[in-house]
Each structure stands twice: as structure tokens, then as C-alpha cells.
Symmetry: C2
Subunit: 331 residues, 2 copies
């Protein structure tokens, strides 16, 4: 079958695109790796209008329920390739699983930025994580580092300090750049010796337990080469360039997730975001983008991503029907 509209990405932008598309009576399918995108990583959301306090995942689940109630479908699949086809677009999940749509909205958000240092890739999931909200609870009573100095790192350190015995916040800059409400919070935890901030310092390498033991010339038969044991700093802390740790959280932001649309020849801006006009149209006819991956989303918030998803759905309708989507209004 051919859908009117394929939506790739099940984060805030994609889900809202489905809600609006269903209201426009467009036969639509959401394909996403996981539910909720970045929103699902927030363990507590208190600035989403209308919801006093809820986890990001619970909010995403609530929205997914709404998608179903309005007639939309969500399949948790990773689209590995997006192709132009005579009918419109073809989303390839595997050689045997493909979905066709007349038009497509891509809302694949952003991918976590990596440090690209030795040991990082090798130890992912073995002490290296890009999501404090997801993995902090595994470090109860342990010593961990959070890398970064902006909001994600600061809130990540605060969250991790609920579990870890000590959190090092390692930042290359001189001053944390976080929301004032979080700066107040971290100040308290620094005073309580739960968090230590190491400024003007970069990681040179992430080390396994075995590497740390070797560098310290210790003999530890239980030291694993498969688990994080510490990091090497470019600015020695308390006299040592080796900081022994049980986990490293890398929270240095994201890069736009444009790998699916780039092969189609979509124009990006100089920072790597997809160029769209105010209707969320890309330079490719029938291909719309929304959410954190587009240059028009000046604030990376659920609410702004959703707004762009709603607009993209209206534009998809216009493209399919040849007329402006009617305003949606409650009754």
C-alpha cells in the first residue's frame, strides 16, 4: 500500500505531524527507532505547557496514545535509507521491509555529539554513556564523570549525583553555561561535596580498568579491559593526569540527524541543519523536515519541535491536495 504521508522519527515533531495529518484525514504512518526522541531522555519535564510534571517518556507515551486514537500508526523501525520512487518516497527498513508514501516528513532530530577520543567508541555501553537520564541509576555509590558545561551536562551531573557517590563535571570552559535554575541547584551539590567541577580541562582518552591499573603500575587481577576504569586529562587534576572512574557520561550536545536526507540532495546550512522555509519545505518537492534537525527551530525544545511538526503536516496536506490546509480548531 501507499501511504499519503510517511513520517520518519517518533519524537515530538513526528508525533505531532501524525496528529495533525490524521485530523486532515491523511493516511499516515510514523516510523521511528524509539518513542519520544530527546524528550524521552528527560526524567522530569516541568515546562511543558499543560502538564505540571511528568517524565519525558510518560509524556511521549501519552502523545503516542493520542496518535493511535486519531487513527495514526507508529512502527518502531529504523529507516536505513530513504529513496525517491515513482509514487513519491520509499523508506527502507531492510531489504524485505519497505514503506511507500506520496510525501514524507523527516523529523529525525539530532544525534549525540561524540568526543572522538581513544577508548570512547570501544567502551560505549561499558561505562561510556551519552544519556545520564537513561544510565545514571546504574552508578549507585560509584564515581563518575559528566563531560560538558552546558545545560545537558549540568542537569546530567545533578541527576547523576542522586545515585553516584561523587560526580566530576569536566568542562573545557571557564564558566558553566546552564539555565539559572540549574546553576543554583548545582551550587548546593558542590557545597555538599557531591559534585566537583573541573574547569578548563579536556579528556585525552577514556581508559579501561586494565589500562588504569597498568598506568598506575598496580597489579589488580580483577581489572577488566572491557570496563571503564578512568580517564586521561590534558590538565592534571590534583597532580594526576589519570582520574580513576567507573563511568563517563558525555553530554556535549547533538548534531542534526540528517544522514537519511543528505543522499537525496537536501540543502543544509553551514552548521549542518536542513534548510527549510516557514512551511517546513525542503528543496526537494514532497519532502518536509521538522524538529531539531531544521534550521528554523531556533530553540531545541519539545514545544518548538511540535510546532514545526504541525506546520509540516499542513504543508504535506497542501502538497497532496493542492489547497491550503484548513485551520484546525477545537469545537
Amino acid at each position: 500500500m501507499i501511504y499519503d504521508l510517511l513520517i520518519i522519527g517518533a519524537g515530538p515533531a513526528g508525533l505531532i505531524a501524525s496528529i495533525y495529518a490524521s485530523r486532515y484525514k491523511l493516511n499516515n504512518l510514523v516510523l521511528g527507532k524509539t518513542l519520544g526522541g530527546e524528550l524521552a531522555l528527560a526524567s522530569k519535564v516541568e515546562n511543558y505547557p499543560g502538564i505540571i510534571s511528568l517524565s519525558g517518556l510518560a509524556l511521549a507515551e501519552q502523545i503516542a496514545k493520542q496518535v493511535f486514537l486519531l487513527g495514526g500508526k507508529i512502527l518502531y523501525r529504523e529507516v536505513v535509507q530513504l529513496l525517491k520512487s515513482p509514487e513519491g518516497f520509499l523508506a527502507v527498513v531492510s531489504p524485505t521491509e519497505k514503506y511507500q508514501g506520496k510525501v514524507v516528513i523527516v523529523a529525525t532530530g539530532s544525534e549525540r555529539r561524540r568526543l572522538n577520543i581513544p577508548g570512547e567508541k570501544e567502551l560505549i555501553g561499558k561505562g561510556v554513556s551519552y544519556c545520564t537520564t537513561c544510565d545514571a541509576p546504574f552508578y549507585k555509590g560509584k564515581r563518575v564523570a559528566v563531560i560538558g558545561g552546558a545545560d545537558a551536562a549540568v542537569t546530567g551531573a545533578i541527576h547523576t549525583a542522586e545515585f553516584a557517590s561523587l560526580v566530576y563535571l569536566i568542562y573545557r570552559g571557564q564558566q558553566l553555561r546552564a539555565e539559572p535554575i540549574w546553576l543554583e541547584e548545582i551550587e548546593k551539590l558542590i557545597k555538599a561535596d557531591k559534585i566537583k567541577v573541573i574547569y578548563q580541562t579536556n579528556l585525552k582518552e577514556i581508559l579501561s580498568q586494565a589500562q588504569v591499573a597498568k598506568l598506575k603500575a598496580e597489579t589488580d587481577s580483577k581489572a577488566s579491559a572491557q570496563l571503564v576504569g578512568g580517564v586521561k586529562l590534558d590538565n592534571p587534576y590534583e597532580g594526576s593526569e589519570i582520574l580513576p572512574l567507573d563511568g563517563v557520561f558525555i553530554e556535549i550536545g547533538g548534531v542534526p540527524g540528517t544522514s537519511l536526507v543528505q543522499p537525496l540532495g537536501v540543502v543544509l546550512d553551514e552548521r549542518g541543519y536542513v534548510k527549510v522555509n516557514e512551511q517546513m519545505e525542503t528543496n526537494i518537492s514532497g519532502l518536509f523536515c521538522a524538529g531539531d534537525m531544521v534550521d528554523k527551530t531556533v530553540m531545541k525544545q519539545a514545544i518548538t519541535a511540535m510546532a514545526s511538526g504541525a506546520i509540516a503536516a499542513a504543508s504535506a496536506y497542501k502538497h497532496l491536495k493542492g489547497q491550503i490546509a484548513p485551520p484546525i480548531r477545537g469545537i
Copy 2:
């Protein structure tokens, strides 16, 4: 006292601006005529992400609660004048009630468009209404007309048909322009003789009961000159240019509510919307606009208004602190 930020308008854009401003630790005050703006007029909202179904007013109340919890204040006052002052801006409610702010976000939405025909102004609140959602329940068992043919008029007619014995939908165009989901719904009500659509017809005048009686050369001692009795059409319906009615709902859209900002020299676009850049900055330093009144809001939806309100708050922060607002993230 001088607030960091005054927010004028207590609709979705203004309320969210307060939520974000409070998270940025800006001392902020919301001044609005009533709570919820256009959102409050929707008796049922089913496309707001995260809320399956709720009245617009209940949703606005929920958001107002959040404003309070985060430290924001709302005062239900009509600002009649906005002035530049040495401290920033002065919002005048009355000669004795004025509020000062270093910067201001104006989010005064839109005002209902009028027909500007004889009898309209005289009979407002006496059978002439601009809000089916507010006033339809008063017309139980009566005959009313809804004027317009876009979504507001169509949903308004559907809603009014729940109460009225017969609803005329009077439209100057040839084809209704509403969301497909509503067109299906109205079709059923037309078949059930609850709604009659009169196409290609304009109202020439709104008449009182006394005027209708006189024009029909009837003697009716109870006919009031203070209540709607009918309308005069430019395209006679069933042979008569007079259509007797008990109420007239005018649902022909809105015009941007720019009366407060125009005297400050704010630049408008050719349609009357305030020109803002992507940061919601107007041409006046320290004055930001958001929501339905700005040219950047391509879709008049709560979610898009909210997104622009959040962005305006971040821009207000930047203006006050001389630095980019940190990204807000849940924890």
C-alpha cells in the same frame, strides 16, 4: 517596582512566555484581559499534544497553575496603553494603575473580525455574538445563523446545532473551506435538517425584532427593538430577503490585535501582522511579540503560539542579560 519582564496577553503565547521566563529566573508579570485567549473559546481540544481531550479553558487553567507554581504572576487587567519609559516600558491599565518592565512581550492575539453592517454593533450581546462556543447554549430551541464558511464557522455551526432547533450557515463563497473531519460532520447535520447552508449570500443588515415585524407589516406588541429578530440578505432565500432569526454568530476570522503596539511605531506587514525576526524581536528594542499577532506564526494554533512565546522569553533573557539564554532541559 520594576519587573524584568512584562507580558501582555494571557493566551497560550503569553502564558508560555511566563513559564520560560520563570525558568530563566526573570521576575515577570502577565497582564491579560481574560485567561486563555482564543484557546479558551474551544469547548473541546483534541489535538493538543499530551492532552487527549479537554476544554480549551480547562487547558488554559492548567497552564495558568503552572505559571504560578514556577513563580510567575497573572493579573486579569486590560492594558489600555503601552508607553516607552526611562526604565523600559510602562503598561497603563488606568490612570492610577500602571506597571513597569525593563522589557515587554506583547501577545495580544487577534480580535474578531466584524461584518461592519448596520445593526451589528447595536445588537452585540443582544443576539449578535462572535463566539459560538461561548454563547451557543443560550439558543436552545431557537433559530440562529452562523456567518462564514471557514473552519471557525463550520465548527461553530456544528456546535450550535447541538442547542438550536435550526442553524443557517450563511456564506458568501461557493464551497465551505473547513478541515475534512468537520466537513464530514456537517454533512450529516445537513442531511438531518439541523443545518442549512446558504451559499453566495452576504448579510446586508442585522435587524431587531421590531424592525422585522415592521418590514413584514406584522403587529407584534412583544417585538423588541433591543433583540435580534432577523437579517436582511443580499441574495433572497426562499423568496425573501428577510430571514427571521433569534441570534447571529459572526465567525469570519480575526485580525491581529496590534492596537497597543502600533503607537510605538512597530512595523507591520501588509496584512497587519507585526513583523518579527526568528527571535520574535520587533523593530523596537526590548519589545518582543509572539502568538497570533506576528507574521511568523504561519499556523494559528495553540502549539505554534506557545513555541513563539517560548522563543520570545529566551530573547527577552538575552536582551536583559546580554547573553544567549541557556537551553532548557528536563532533568
